[in-house]
Subunit: 339 residues, 4 copies
């Protein structure tokens, strides 16, 4: 249950209310959003208890919660969240066009990429320094050195940088990274989520390969319940029987999430498709469906990429796509504005 308090409730009164709630054998979590204060109650909530709570003078309203997530729910936070990532915003009409290689390989490779990403109209740079690889014998990434290169290049081209964190022990190495990425395989690595929840850096939370939308929102809740509300959801395809594509991109997730949550949704067509030739079609579809951003793999020489080359766009393809994406994004704003 959400108990909204009057705007004038003092801190002391809140403490007293919390005690009273404990006396009812319930637990209370304090939510504060803008000027509103509310308490989320857990435990055996009987109608007796609800009635007594409603009678307290500081209580403005009570509302049942329909979902197992709270902070991620649109119920408590009806307007779209806008997350600041370095010098850009994502959500609430602000669109992210994130580009870059799967893996950071060399300074030169990353700088070349950053240069054409920026010039094409991209506004954030991605790149993997720690790589989750199915095989222990595959290239595992440049690690901290990769992050350092990325920081320097991000600064030079004035773009925020995003990179995947795979373990709690790596968190401290991400000081200069603007947004953590949590990979699909770690979507339910709850200890990692909780630790990230204690930072205040934005998190790009990828959907697990077979995660339901509800589980994905619950994982966002794990982060948010620790205090960090800067979560951006990223759909990267779910596992099905189809073999023409690496995974099946679930674009219905955009509208479904927007019914349930205030968090922005970014689409990753590169990992969903696993092939370069359908990235443009999926990207434009995502924009039209209402996505808040795209994260796309591109490489100066895809055929030489150390990983995921077959799904990386050539520089020229990235340029063309970005141009279309921005035009379409503007157009969608127009047709979705009612007069």
């Amino acid at each position: 249950m959400i108990v909204t308090l009057n705007g004038s409730t003092t801190k002391d009164e809140v403490s007293r209310l919390c005690n009273q709630i404990e006396n009812l054998d319930l637990s209370a979590t304090l939510l504060s959003h803008r000027n509103d204060i509310a308490l989320v109650l857990d435990g055996a909530i009987t109608s007796d208890k609800v009635n007594s709570i409603r009678n307290w003078p500081q209580v403005a309203a009570t509302e049942e919660i329909h979902s197992p997530y709270k902070k991620a729910s649109k119920q408590w936070h009806p307007e779209d969240s806008i997350i600041e990532v370095g010098n850009i915003k994502i959500g609430g009409g602000h669109f992210a066009m994130i580009g870059g290689p799967c893996s950071i390989e060399t300074y030169n490779q990353l700088e070349k990429t950053a240069a054409y990403v920026k010039e094409s109209g991209g506004n954030a740079l991605r790149g993997g320094a720690f790589k989750p690889r199915t095989s222990p014998y595959s290239f595992q990434g440049l690690g901290k050195d990769g992050l350092d290169m990325m920081h320097e290049i991000g600064q030079k081209y004035d773009m925020p940088i995003v990179s995947e964190v795979m373990a709690i022990s790596q968190i401290e190495l991400f000081e200069d990274v603007d947004m953590f990425q949590v990979g699909a395989r770690n979507m339910q690595n709850f200890d990692l989520l909780k630790e990230l929840g204690k930072t205040n850096k934005p998190i790009l939370l990828k959907r697990g390969l077979s995660a339901t939308i509800q589980e994905w929102l619950m994982s966002a809740e794990y982060i948010m319940s620790e205090g960090n509300e800067n979560v951006i959801l990223c759909e990267r395809g779910i596992r099905t029987f189809e073999t023409e594509t690496r995974n099946t991109q679930d674009l219905s997730a955009i509208a479904v999430v927007k019914q349930l949550s205030h968090l922005p949704v970014v689409i990753d067509p590169s990992h969903a498709a696993g092939r370069r030739d359908i990235i443009e079609s999926l990207s434009l579809a995502a924009v039209a469906a209402g996505a808040d951003g795209l994260i796309i793999e591109t490489h100066p020489e895809p055929e030489r990429a150390s990983s995921d080359g077959e799904q990386s766009l050539y520089p020229e393809q990235y340029r063309e796509l970005t141009e279309k994406v921005w035009k379409l994004h503007q157009f969608m704003k127009q047709i979705n504005t009612k007069n």
Copy 2:
């Protein structure tokens, strides 16, 4: 193997070639497309045989076939097919905006729907007269009476009509219907497909609930191999573990099919979503992805519909969606035209 013949090859020469091919223990199927004539060869094709065939004077070119489907393949028919359905065209830039109720219930219900579908900008009418229902005890449709109503109303509002055929015995009842629909459950009802292949009416072939894209194209091939090349593919969601939606719409199928085949692709977001509130998002995504049409359920009073009410758009929603769809379709043509 595809053996393309010189344009000047006579009918007699073709017969003689076919005999020679049989003497090589191969079978030949004649394909003719525009002014081109080709033979598709099957059997144990050795390099010896290929060499001897290449030497025949009427042979312009030989080409290996990379896919198990032939007539449906882009290899043999590189330009997009344009299918005529009544007074509209579908494919190659022509867009179908098909609307109507899941089930035809009464003359009045269908006419009301047709009126606002037409007025909103819809250009074809759908409606079920024979309904495939999971339960033998559910409403099974009005049958032939429903088709008659539909014919009359289609004429009145000058829109082609589309309805599902479930069995060979029903084919003759569809004389006045402009396009057969083959439902997802019948995608591999091969005897039905073959019979439909002997007609020359367009077929809207829905993808099976767990059909791969290749199986779907093979089912198109079943129809086409009997002579009817007027096949339109319809994606209606595949079965996954996600429960927020009835099925998962696979919008990547649009671009994948367009790499493999010349056949138009129409998207059915209503059955994929199973809920009205995300139809607009999926529809606009489909247009941006390059679909050749949409088939959408709408009902004058969805809450009173005899089936699928929860996924049917209200008249006003259908109107708004159709307006946006046409605007977006125009816009996509613009940004996809290179100067």
Copy 3:
């Protein structure tokens, strides 16, 4: 609602009750099973109506129905069904060990197979005469000639024969076949199911590739609602993302079906696995799980089979497996009998 009538209720009384039920705006279907008579009521069943029905003198009991299927439900028919197929019984402790080739190719091939199937302990013969093939260009089976061969060989080796029917028009050709098989692709070919429901021959109903257990039981209900209650369910694997096997055998379906229905369940490990080397493991698992039979592909020379060779057992493998299956089946009876 199921309304069970007193054993002494006369035919006239039943008619009168049916009239009364119609006057309540409900419809009634008569079920008779052994000496019991019951009426299944459909329509808007209010508590008023239930009360009035309970007061009728011929009514022994009323019971709500919890499932959308009725005749297939264990609720109405608590003991296991035993289906007679030629000279064998299936269900209620009677086990079917059905073997044979995917396709009937020649008289000699089928006779050889029948000989070792019988000698190994198999008690029924399978073989495809009409083959549902993904490609229209693949071998489509010997048709009626194949059925004739099978009939003769079945007689000679004193085994009932099972073959797949793909279309209504083929039904009459199956006069000498002991059991129809409905393939996975036709599980929701409702018109075919209804026609088969008008015969009185046993039906082996395969589960669709992505059919839920409830949909499978509803398809059984389609057959049974027309009068033919001789339905045997056959699990043949469902479609998942796993690629080591052709499909994923769902052995939990055995116990789940036995909670819901009285119909026998036969397991087809050949199509589920798609590879010969794991058939024995899956077969023994199925027996231990409580299956009522196995249907297994075997061929005198699998590497020469016209279809499914890679999943067909060699004669010697079939012999060994059959021996183990019968031993295990006996053993399971023992350990499942409580003293």
Copy 4:
């Protein structure tokens, strides 16, 4: 490539060979198994290089590797692995019957369970102290206190204990635990796997909810590549569209894994089924299929369990099941022994 060396090869010779291999621009990993020594080579292996390597006097044989995993592969280690867990063995004919509650709740609850598990014939005790819960607001387990209770009770009833480890930071708390369990959600938490690979304690590695068998073996390889070869695989159901069961148990995985790997396979029917009434059927199926063990949830009072109550067996059910399992296990040994 695997290069098997003569038994008499000295340590110095091995070093020298490794240098020579590096000179060929290849890398070598030393594998030693019993008295055999082999080198696994990686890099661009040309036929020239293979020929030169074959000519070295210490080389007994060379063999191509067909799978991306090495230490987990049956190719290098053809006989079944037998893993010691406390006072029991698992694999190679040794069967584990692991029982216990989902969560450790109280000392009393766990002791009661241990008592009837032992008395029924169970030979290992499971219990969750750290619980991966979809919701951050659900009960997260007793932590270290739970492990301490378990250790004491395991000692008292002379059974090895198994519990789930969720994070690297927890590893040191598991000193007294006989086997780590890695949960399905952490199957690709590669950093955790690598740390566990540095211990020498057995690991029960659950299959991810949508992991392919190959990915599962690759995760085993992550552990083994760090030195810990005591890995036991655990199938706990994969995610499909079926809703009658929580997941779909993939029993074909048993035989498939046994074709590919030497590692033992344990089946967890409790999480696959998510319902108590089909556990017995699945368990007996697993034994007949050739599983090396079962891990089953049971609770003295399932309806009061803090988690997973609906899938936990009652004590009496556990007793009956265990009795049948041991009888069947003995019987399977008999019928699988050829004379």
